[in-house]
Amino acid sequence: MEATNQKIELTVTVNGTRYEREIEPRMLLSDFLRHEIGLTGTHVGCEHGVCGACSVLMDDQPVRSCLMFAVQTQGHEITTVEGLGTMDALSPVQQAFHEAHGLQCGFCTPGILTTVTAFLETNPDPSEEEAREAISGNLCRCTGYQHIVDAVLLAAKKKQAAG
């Protein structure tokens, strides 16, 4: 079959902002976020669903953005790390990662922050074991994970204290 030149009109809400773009169906969500709308906070690591760096939230659930086509987000709401907090007002999860040294080089961090944000919504008071399970789909080559686990547990405390 001949290669297709099909383009599709995509309308998607990312971090509360509506975007309309005409894209090829083969464009991955990760590439759409980075190249089409300039949200380079979402990092691309392995591009086959193993490393978790590109994890974002679709309708508040964590997904691998390298394993979805952007056209599949038609009408859905995406949250990337840019949507969690601001430089002046970090989200509780971001603040906890800052305080507990839950990152070193930072490459894996956006995928972990989005994943943990969703996790604490469904499990606000996790055990250490549950925290480890929650980040099992995110590879980190710097920290040895201990400070990330500490940060997840600290984030849970911060969120509870904030009510």
């Binding site: 297709t4 083969r26 590439d31 669903g49 691998r64 394993l67 994943t115 399970e133 099992s136 789909g137």
Partner: protein, 292 residues
């Protein structure tokens, strides 16, 4: 690492999806959760000319209790099975295995029908459904047919699905009273595909004699490996350590076909299969006796 170009369709009814599949046949792939297909497309191992995305068909995701078992829609996400009280009650083997399948971000997307249709011999769902004697409803414009799991998985990534068919749902029978179950596997890292694994179910009579047993192995062959002779061997016996050891020995030496790869040798996989089989039968027996 970018997919080759393809023509994209996102039908909103099953009829439309089947019509597209009839039209494009071998040129088309059905996109369910995409957690296996999209990595293969990123690597360009798979280059379908046409992609039929069934994520916008609303009535394919459900878990319903029925007489004798549970009916699961093809687009049921792993995460839905993981938190479903119906699955916990009627198909505890599947329910309890769900957290072992991949990672949270994969389970929010990966689907029941997608995993079965992909038929990776290292995946859990093909083995679990074979163990539980599930059957699948395959639909096409030509009609529909029910195919038992034991006849569905034909080889590596190969199933009984014809090019114009979609697996629409599965029916998973409930185990009888005084039954136990277990899934045992060894992974290099938790949540990775298993180096070797086995699912076991046993049903005991009032004297703890085994009435029925089923042993199905994963990652040690080109499909879920049903150890029929070892399973039959246990019938009519009390599940003593000797009986369990004999079944595990028979299954792991004669009824599996493990391969060598970078992760493990065939001999090592055989050894794991033997050990895991004993553990699985032991746990299944304990559950059947209500000890656990």
């Amino acid at each position: 690492m970018k997919p080759a170009p393809f023509e994209y369709h996102a039908p909103t009814t099953l009829d439309d999806a089947l019509s597209l599949l009839t039209e494009h046949g071998y040129d088309a792939k059905v996109l369910a959760g995409g957690q296996s297909l999209v990595p293969m497309m990123n690597f360009r191992i798979a280059q379908p000319a046409v992609l039929i995305d069934i994520n916008n068909i609303p009535d394919l995701a459900y878990i319903n209790a029925e007489e004798g078992g549970v009916r699961v829609g093809a687009m049921t996400r792993h995460h839905q099975s993981e938190i479903s009280p119906i699955m916990a009650q009627h198909a505890p083997l599947i329910y309890s295995t769900m957290p072992k399948i991949a990672y949270p971000q994969v389970r929010t997307r990966g689907t029941f029908g997608g995993s079965l249709s992909h038929a990776d011999p290292a995946a859990e769902l093909p083995t679990l459904t074979t163990t539980l004697d599930a059957k699948f409803r395959l639909v096409s414009q030509r009609g529909e047919r029910w195919v038992p799991a034991s006849e569905f998985f034909l080889g590596l990534y190969t199933t009984a699905l014809e090019p114009d068919e979609i697996l629409a749902e599965g029916f998973v029978p409930e185990l009888p009273p005084r039954s136990g179950w277990s899934l045992q596997e060894v992974n290099r890292r938790k949540h990775d595909f298993a180096l070797a694994g086995v699912a076991a179910t046993v049903t005991l009579d009032e004297n703890d004699v085994c009435q029925n047993a089923r042993l199905v192995f994963l990652s040690v062959g080109d499909r879920p490996m049903y150890a029929e002779r070892a399973s039959t061997l246990l019938q009519g016996q009390a599940l003593t350590s000797e009986a369990i050891r004999a079944a595990a020995e028979l299954a792991s030496s004669e009824e599996i076909d493990p391969g060598d790869d970078i992760h493990a040798t065939a001999d090592f996989r055989r050894h794991l299969a033997n050990v895991l089989c004993k553990r699985a039968l032991e746990q299944a027996r304990q559950r059947a006796q209500g000890q656990k």
